[in-house]
Structures are given as C-alpha cells and as structure tokens.
C-alpha cells in the first residue's frame, strides 16, 4: 500500500564510473543514524512477515475453523490476528516516519555541503559551467537521492523480503499454484518490457518534437513584437501548427501504445486469478495434491501482493541506478576544488591603495587575453581604461581582485604580491561597481549593508545619501525596508546602479573599480550617477572603464587597450596631442 514510484517506461541506461565508492559515500552520510536505521530494518522485516503470515492464517481460518465449526477458536484467532495487524501498522507508521526524517536530514546535509563548497569555487568554475546544470544538480539530483533514501530503498527492501517470504510460503502450500502466479508475473514483466521497447522510439520522437514545440513557443512569444512588426503572425502560426500537429501525432503513437500497459497488467492479474481459482477448484475436486479452499483464498490475496513487489523490484533497481548517478553528479560538485589561499598569505586589514601591474599577462584556457600590462597607480589616483569591446578591460579589473590566476607577472597592492594576501582581505580592500551590479532579494537596507556587514543603520543611510540614492529610496512605500524582487525588477536600471554605488561607498575600501557603471543608464539618472561616482572616487585609487569619453577626460592616467595590449598611455591632453587611436575615438563621437 506504499506510494509507488511511477513505472519507468524507458529503463534508462546509466553508466556509473564508480558505484561502489558512491554507495559508500552516501552511506557515510547515514552513519549518524545507524541505530535508527537498524530499527527501521527490523520493523520492516516484522511488518512484512506479519502480512505474509497474516494472509496465510486467513486461509487456515477458513479451512480449519469455519469449515470445522470451531467458533471459539475462530474468534480467538481473529482477535490475535487483529492485534497483530494493529502492531504491524504502528510499526509501519514508525518505520515510515523515521525513514522520512533520516532521508530529509541527509538531503539537507548534502545540499548544505554542495552549497558551501560552491561558494568557494574559483570564478572560472562559474564561467565554464552552465547555471542550469549546476541548479539541476542542486535541486533534481539531491531530490533523487532523497527519494532513493526515503522510498526506493525501503521499498526495495520490503519488496525483496515479501517476495522471499511469500514465495516460500507459496511453494510450501502448493508448487502448482506458485507456478501459475509466477507465470503471470513473468508475463506482465515481459509484456511491459516489449511495449517499452516498442514505444521507446516513439517516446524519443515525442520528446524531440516537444522540444521543438517549446522552442517555437518561446521564440515567437518573446519575439512577439518582431513577429507583429514584420507581418509574420500568420506564417508563424501556420509553421507552429505544423509542428504542433507533428507533436500530437508522435505523442499519440507513444501514449496510445503505452496506455495498454495498465489494462494489460490488470488482465494478467485477472487471468492469474482465474487460473488459481480454476486449477485450485479442479485439484480439490480431483483430489490432486493438498489444496484446500483456504489455500486458494491465501493465494488470491498473495497474488495481489506478489506481482506488484516483483515488478517493483525491477523498476526500483533502475530507479536506484538513476539515483546513484545523481549522487555521483552531486559528489562531483562537492569535490570540485576550492579557491585556496597561499599558505604564506598575509593579512592586510586596511591598505593604502598603491597598485602596481608588473608585466602582467593572462590567458583564458589557451587564448591569450592580456599581454604584458604595466601600470603604477598611486593612492587617490584615477586610472581610466579605454578601448573597443572585448579588448580585455574587464579582465584587468578581474585580476585586481585575484578572481583568476595570472599567467605571467605580478599585481601588487601596497607592495605585496596579491597572491600572497589573504583573498578575503584583498577583496575587502577593493570595491566594485559593475555594469549590471547584482542585487539580492532582500531589503534595500540589507543590500547596501552587504558592503560592510557590521555597518549601522545610520551608516547605511549616510552611504545612500552620498550615492544620491537616499531621495528615491525614501519615496518608496517602505523606504529602506523595501523588499527587492528578484533581480530588483521594480527599480530602474539607474536606481539599481545607485544602490550598488551606495554599497561600494559603505565598504570604505581604498581601491575602487567602476566597470562600465553608466553604460545602460538613461541620461537623466546618468547625471545623478556621475555625481555619485565623483563622490565615491574621492581619496580612492579608482579604476574606471567607460564607453563614454566624457567620463574619462579627468582621469590622471588613461590606458588605451586593444587586443589585450596597451597601445597608448597618458592623460587626456597628451593622448589627444598624440593624435592616435584615442584621438580618433574621441573625435568620432562628434561626427
């Protein structure tokens, strides 16, 4: 009567690289619950055997007591049976609740382990791995493990015990009827396997068509405006209807075929039912063997409990394999190596903000991104980076926070090689405002406070005032306590940027990076943002990347970067006088 795992029509082939190790590892999560699990196993054995024995006693009751008119004993046996069942149910209840609790505790722990490791992976991991894939490991795969622990495992265990127990009881009672029961079990299994084989192709086809269908829906709905503007509504619809029809056809083929499985199993059960009754009856009449009415009765009940578990066991083994594959994927993520500090790394609480790039080269995989960059920035200076998209400007900034390892050269903060400063300290000394700064779904106050978790409320508000964000925040219905929606979609791009500037303010870090901080802001807010940035840059070593040259003119140094190399370096006036790339870029905006 347990919840059944839906029958897996395609017994998916899973390749496991090292299933022993994976099982062992899942086992290690269960260590703390050893005594509880032992209890569960004992309970399971007891309840399963109770069912097996109980069913047999039912048959005996019919043969011995009812047929032989022993009312007293009948009532006593029935009372005993009832007590047995009550105890078994109580056992089942405890067994189920303990399993669920253990399984959930384990999956919570696994999720926790995955997440905490994920937190400390190097940036490159996030660049090279699809968010969807990581999410699916964190959610689906952990869920699979949970199901395996909660249901599959126990079901498999109960299944095996009941099959063995009932099988033994059946063989002892009547080998003939046992054969009949087994036959129906095998028939059911073979048939569903045959159907699965037949439908496999149809299902794959259906899945592919569904993919096509969904892509079309996604594309045309999100491109709806284009579809309308280019007069494509009718042609899009007719194309869609074609795919839609194809999908229905493929799906019908697959579903109509597999919908026979249910009724067929029902039929084989019924046939076995008939055979047991008929063969039983015939042998009683003909006095072959020692079959009685009670035996027939027992078998009829066993039949319902036998075919189910045996088929289940086969499915469950497959599900278990899938879960092991999930576990393997999850552990892979747990084992991914973390960003580690150099053992000799020093602590640097408050830096001056003196930065040196000394012959820095950087390659991503084998692609050279930056080549021999040299730069000295004194505390309080403003350094601007200019150049076409993809020239490597943002990469320079990423290296400044040690997000990626260098290929050659050194980056120094206050004379210390960055790789020899503790990462947390280094990053606390550098504040970044990105083109699209990320805001979290928490209150505005908390979002700003992320810059310095020990900041007081008045610190937060002061930072917001400096960032020109205070006014708009106070106009919001809940002010600083306004809860941001996902991706802060209730704010304009400019307002989001002001918040991230406030967040940078509150860090009080001596080094500041502004990475295209005004690129996607409208002009009105841009004035606000620029004022805020000017405030922010005061007394800080600032690195500015910008499309708009007006932002850059006042910088102490300007680095013009093209194809990963510094091609010009100087201040606005000297670069204009040079009449090179910078001058061309600057003048192009007035054409």
């Amino acid at each position: 009567m347990r919840r059944r795992v839906p029958r897996n029509i395609h017994r998916e082939k899973v390749s496991l690289t090292n299933w022993k190790k994976t099982i062992f590892r899942v086992g290690s999560y269960l260590k703390d619950y050893r005594s509880k699990l032992m209890l569960v196993f004992t309970f399971t054995i007891v309840t399963t055997l109770t069912t097996v024995i109980g069913n047999r006693i039912n048959g005996i009751v019919i043969d011995k007591y009812i047929s032989q008119n022993k009312l007293h004993i009948l009532l006593i046996v029935c009372a005993l049976l009832a007590t047995m069942y009550v105890i078994a149910s109580i056992f089942t209840y405890f067994q189920n609740s303990v399993t669920i609790k253990v399984a959930q505790a384990v999956s919570t722990k696994i999720r926790q382990d995955v997440f905490s490791n994920l937190q400390r992976l190097p940036m490159k991991y996030f660049d090279t791995h699809n968010n969807g894939d990581v999410m699916s490991r964190l959610t689906n795969d952990v869920d699979n493990i949970n199901t395996a622990l909660m249901q599959t495992f126990v079901q498999l265990f109960t299944g095996v015990i009941s099959v063995i127990g009932m099988g033994l009881a059946m063989i002892i009672l009547s080998p003939l009827l046992t054969g009949v029961t087994l036959l129906s079990t095998v028939a059911t299994y073979l048939f569903s396997k045959a159907i699965a084989k037949l439908t496999q192709k149809a299902f794959v086809n259906q899945q592919n068509r569904l993919g096509e269908l969904n892509t079309q829906i996604e594309e045309s709905v999100s491109g709806k405006q284009l579809v309308q503007l280019f007069n494509h509504t009718d042609s899009t619809m007719s194309e869609f209807n074609k795919v839609n029809r194809q999908y229905t056809k493929a799906a019908y083929k697959a579903q109509a075929l597999s919908s026979v499985i249910g009724p067929f199993n029902n039929m084989t059960n019924n046939v076995a039912y008939v055979l047991i009754t008929a063969i039983g009856a015939v042998s009683i009449i003909g006095h072959y063997g020692n079959i009685t009415v009670g035996v027939i009765f027992t078998f009829l009940i066993y039949l319902r409990n036998f075919t189910g578990p045996i088929n289940n066991v086969l499915d469950l083994i497959n599900t278990l394999q899938l879960s092991l594959a999930s576990a393997e994927r999850v552990f892979e993520l747990i084992d991914e190596s973390q960003e580690k500090d150099n053992p000799e790394a020093i602590s640097l609480k408050k830096a001056q903000g003196h930065i040196i790039f000394d012959h820095v080269s950087f390659a991503y995989d084998k692609r050279m991104i930056l080549n021999d960059i040299n730069l000295v920035a004194d505390p309080g200076e403003v350094v601007a980076l200019v150049g076409p998209t993809g020239a490597g400007k943002t990469t320079i900034m990423n290296l400044l926070t040690n997000l990626y390892p260098l290929k050659k050269g050194h980056v120094l903060l206050d004379g210390h090689d960055m790789t020899k400063i503790r990462r947390a300290d280094l990053r606390k000394n550098v504040a970044i405002v990105q083109q699209e700064s990320f805001l979290f779904t928490m209150s505005i106050r908390e979002n700003i406070r992320l810059g310095r978790p020990d900041a007081s409320n008045s610190d937060v508000e002061r930072a917001a005032i400096e960032a020109n964000a205070d006014t708009f925040i106070r106009q919001l219905p809940d002010g600083y306590d306004t809860l941001l929606s996902e991706n802060a979609s209730q704010l304009s791009q400019g307002q989001r940027q002001l918040l991230s500037i406030a967040r940078a303010f509150i860090t009080e870090a001596p080094v500041l990076i502004l990475d295209e901080a005004t690129a996607s802001i409208d002009s009105q807010t841009e004035a606000d943002v620029q004022k805020a940035m000017a405030n922010l840059m005061k007394n800080k070593t600032s690195f500015v990347i910008a499309h708009r040259l007006s932002t850059i003119q006042k910088a102490n140094q300007i680095l013009v970067i093209k194809y990963g190399q510094v091609i010009e370096q100087g201040n606005h006036q000297s670069l204009l006088n040079k009449n090179g790339f910078y001058a061309k870029l600057y003048n192009s905006q007035f054409d």
């Binding site: 009948l74 609790k101 829906i217 045309s220 284009l226 919908s259 009754t277 926070t401 990320f438 979290f440």
Partner: protein, 574 residues
C-alpha cells in the same frame, strides 16, 4: 475547466472524450465480475464436485478478463487522443492570442510561455487521467460496494462501518496536507532562489567577500525547508498504515463475523472469500481516488492560468475592415495621448509633423515615452486618443499589414530567431537576394564578421542569437530592418551595444543610404540625433521642445544639460 476542454475538443476528439469514460465502465464491469464468479466456483462447483461448472465459469472469467483488456486499451487510446487533441488546439489558440494581442498591459512573455507550455501539458495529463481514472476509481468503489452487498448482504454492515470512517479520514488528511505541501513548495522556491542568486551573483559575492553571509542565509532556508517538508510528510505518513490497518481489520472482521455466520450455515465460504476480495478492490479504488483529487487540485491552478490567457482575447478590439493605403510617407501626430487608466499618462497631448524624406530625432530619458510613440505609430496598441496619420490617412483606417509594410523598425532589444543569419535578415523581405543582404550588412558593419564565418549567410543562429555577441546581434538586428527598404525606417536605440567608433561609421553609412527617406531615430545619446533635420524632446510624456540641434541648444534646457553630461566640456560652437 470543463469549459476549456469543451471549447478545445472538436469532432473525433470530443467523441473520444465522452466515449472513453463510457468504455471504461465496461472495464470496471468486467473487473467486478471476477470475485462473484470465483465465489460461485467455490460454492457451487467445488461443493458439488461439478467439474464442468468450474470450467465453464473459469472460461467465463477468462472472457471477462480479455474483454476488460480490450475495453481498457480502447479507453486508453481514446483518452490519449482526446487529451492530445485538446492540448494541440489549446496551444495553437493560446499562441495566436499571445501573438495577436495588442493590449498595453497584457501578460508578460515569461509567464505566457510557461502557460502555453507547462500549464497546457498539465491539463493534457489531467484530461488523460480523468478519462480513465475519474470513472474507474469511483465506479470501482461504488460497484465494489454494490456487488459485495449483492453477493453477501449479511457481511455488508462491515463495509458500512469501515467505509465512512475511511472516507472521512482520507478527506481530513488530504485537506490538512494541502496547505502543508504549499508551505513546503514555498520553502523549495526560496531555497532555489538563494541558489540561483548565488550563481548569478557569483562575482558580486566574491568581490564583497559575502561567502559566509550567503552561506548563513542558505543554511536558514535549507533548515526551514527540512522542517516544512517534515511537517508535510508527517501529515501524510499516517495514510498508508491506517489504510492498511482498516483493510486488514476488515478482513479479520469478515472472517470472524462471516465465519460465525458460516458455522450457522447462513453464508458460504465462497461468499466470504468474494467479500474479502471486493474489499481489497474497494480500498485500492479509494487510494486511486485520493491521488486523483490531489492531481485535480494541482491542475485547477493550471486551468485558471490557461483561462487568464484565453480571457485576453475577449478584450481585443475589433480590427477595422477598411484598408486604405498611404500615398506618401509623411507622419502626423495630432493631440495624441496614451496611458493606462490609473497612472498618469505616458504620452500627453503630443502633436508633430514629419515631412516626407525628413530625418526626425526623438530624444528623452527612459520612461519619457519615446518607445510608446513608436508602439502607437506601428499600431502595437490602439487605445489612445487623438489621431496618428500616415500620408494624411488615419492609421486606424489601414490594415495592420499595410502599416507594417510601410514602416520597418529596429528595436533596442535585438532578438534573433533560431535559424540561419539569412533567415533572420530576410525576415521582413523573404525574397531578398544576397546582393541586397551584402548592401544592408555593409551599412550596419556586420558584413565583415559574417564574411569570416565559414558558412557566411547560412551560418546557424541559436535560440535568441546566443552564439553572437551583443554588438553583433545589434548589427544584424539593424540590417534586418534595412533589408526590406521600407518607406519609413525607425531605429529605437538600435546601436546602444555597439562601440563608439563602429557606431559613428554606421551613422555615416545610414545617412548615405537613407538620404531623403523618412527616418526616425530614437536615442538617449545626443550624438545619434544631433544631425537630424528635426529633433523632438520628450520629458515625462510631454513634447517640450522641437527644432534643429542649433535651435534646441538655444531653447531647451534639458537638451543643453544632456549635451553637458554626455559630451563633457565641449566647445559647442566648434
């Protein structure tokens, strides 16, 4: 929900929808025959040692089993036909509504997509399940009760005691569990959200050293999830032992009570066995019913979400049947206002005139109404007051197709469709030749990078153009709008992702290409509109100034400020 199903099943599909449950009745009937026949074999065949009777009845049972299979199979096939056809029709209908809808405040694309995909699939599955289960489970239940009363009326009281108790118990648990499961789902969503944010914001987290802070957040949510799923599971965990117990106790009572009756020869062994078998059938039917109820409550959410999309069609205005064609390409806005009922107007009494062949620049901050202006001109929305004319004719008197043939638009959001570069570029002019494509892509500075691809114009474009950079996408997007060589070209911030130097080159090329052809340029960047014949300034939905660059420098403060912030200390007289 029934209405949706009715509206989207026609002809054969509708027949199948109604036929499937009726055929299912057949399967149930066959199933219900088995225990009765069996008890007859035992009581009459066995007792009298009548072999022919046994074999006859066994054959009868076999026949019912095979008949049951054919009923069941047919029902399954009909059910999947009906449900799939309904899904097909529903998807097609919803997509058409989504594409044709011209409501300014319609559903967002993301939710539309999930509604057309997931929610329709949910409903499809439900219809499939309903055609089989909705009849099978209750009928088996009812039939089981009826049959057992017929077969052995003496034992019926046992059912009458156990059944109501079980039903009430099941209902209580289901009712109690639904809110708990909703709560659990919310916890799941929150945990997922934290995880998703952490992946998206990985760089921010590292830069601000927030790893521990985030970990703590996650731990809290994770713990909460564990608690909530435990609460939910604990409510339902009692289900299976109780059902099991009821069943087993029922059997024991049947044996004890039935046994005592059998001893006094009121009923037979066969009757007891049949009764017990019916009881097993009834219990499994009951579990099936519970599953269907849960599935139903989930599908109802989907159905309401689907209905909301279907309802959007109702508010759609009748499209005019007249189709006049403009004789020239001048544009007039006459006292045009537009806005949603509640908030302040997005466009407030806008009037301007664009001469044939003129270049018009439209400048203003985000939210000033620039894009709405274009949406009205291209008839994305019709709910405005005032008049918009094309070649002197009210655009409401033209068909949508005519308006869209007249005007080509390049939007800021440069969405590409999956296919090839060519299929994207020829989206507005299917017959365009490669020579024409070359011309357009040279203008938008896309030619070089296309030429470097091994398949050139036949190079594949992935969904949303993911395999091209933002700048490349925008240049393709722009070329797509140029290829049809429409009388009027509108560029809505169409070069925002292109770098300064390329942008300048594109501007130059466009000026040559669209010389003396009506062109509207919307931008936040002064440099993009500076050279237009005429510029209008939008502030908060109002047209506050109009004139050439030189004139606006004189009369618009907003324009002057803009120049100041965007160009720095530039000598204006230069």
């Amino acid at each position: 929900m029934f209405r949706i199903v009715m509206q989207h099943t026609h002809g054969k599909a509708r027949w199948s929808f109604f036929l499937a449950p009726i055929i299912m009745l057949g399967e149930v009937f066959c199933d219900l025959q088995q225990p009765t026949l069996m008890s007859q074999i035992i009581d009459q065949g066995l007792a009298k040692g009548d072999l022919t009777f046994v074999i006859q009845h066994a054959l009868l049972m076999l026949m019912f089993a095979i008949l049951g299979l054919s009923f069941g199979g047919t029902c399954g096939a009909l059910g999947s036909y009906a449900s799939l056809k309904m899904g097909e029709s529903l998807r097609s209908h919803m997509l058409e509504i989504a594409l044709k809808n011209r409501q300014p405040n319609g559903l967002a694309p993301a939710t539309l997509i999930t509604r057309i995909t997931n929610d329709v699939t949910q409903m499809q599955n439900l219809v499939m399940m309903v055609t089989r289960g909705l009849v099978r489970a209750p009928m088996l239940l009812l039939g089981g009760v009826v049959m057992s009363i017929i077969v052995c009326p003496d034992l019926a009281p046992i059912l009458l005691i156990i059944m109501p108790f079980l039903v009430v118990f099941l209902l209580i648990i289901v009712r109690k569990s639904i809110p708990k499961y909703t709560q659990m789902q919310q916890s799941v969503d929150r945990v997922n959200q934290v995880m998703r944010e952490n992946l998206q914001g990985a760089k921010t987290i590292k830069a601000y050293v927030l790893e521990n802070h985030q970990l703590q957040q996650f731990s809290e949510q994770n713990q909460q999830l564990q608690n909530n799923s435990q609460i939910a599971a604990m409510v339902t965990v009692i289900l299976s032992p109780v059902i099991q117990l009821m069943l087993n106790l029922g059997v024991v009572i049947a044996l004890a009570y039935g046994g005592s009756l059998a001893i006094s020869h009121t009923i037979s062994d066969g009757q007891i066995i049949a009764f017990v078998n019916y009881m097993i059938q009834i219990t499994s039917a009951m579990i099936m019913t519970v599953n269907i109820i849960t599935a139903f409550s989930r599908a109802i959410t989907s159905a309401t979400r689907v209905q909301a999309v279907l309802d959007e069609a109702k508010s759609e205005q009748q499209v005019t049947t007249v189709d006049m064609r403009p004789s020239n390409d001048q544009i007039d806005f006459e006292n045009v206002s537009f806005g949603y009922q509640t908030s302040k107007p997005i466009l407030d009494n806008i009037s301007f005139h664009v001469k044939s062949g003129q270049w018009l620049g439209i400048i203003g901050a985000t939210g000033s109404g620039k894009s709405s202006l274009i949406n009205l001109l291209t008839r994305q929305y019709d709910q405005y007051s005032g008049q918009i004319k094309l070649g002197g004719i009210d655009i409401q008197k033209m068909s949508l197709a005519t308006v869209h043939q007249e005007i080509a638009v390049a939007l800021q959001d440069s969405l590409l469709f999956s296919g090839t570069i060519k299929s994207n570029l020829t989206y507005g002019a299917i017959k365009a030749t490669d020579v024409e494509l070359n011309q357009a892509t040279k203008v938008t500075q896309a030619f070089t990078f296309i030429d470097r691809l091994s398949k050139k114009y036949l190079a594949p474009v992935e969904q949303a153009g993911k395999n091209f950079s933002g700048g490349q996408r925008q240049r393709l997007n722009l070329a797509r709008a140029i290829v049809p060589d429409s009388n009027i070209l509108v560029l809505d911030d169409a070069t925002s992702a292109v770098d300064q130097a390329t942008n300048a080159q594109i501007k130059k090329n466009l000026q040559k290409l669209r010389h003396n052809k009506t062109t509207l340029i919307i931008s936040q960047r002064v440099t993009n509109v500076m050279n237009c014949d005429e510029i209008i300034v939008l502030e908060d939905g109002k047209l506050t100034a109009q004139g050439t660059h030189a004139e606006l420098l004189q009369k618009s403060n907003f324009y002057r400020d803009l120049i100041q912030t965007q160009l720095g200390d530039v000598d204006f007289d230069a």
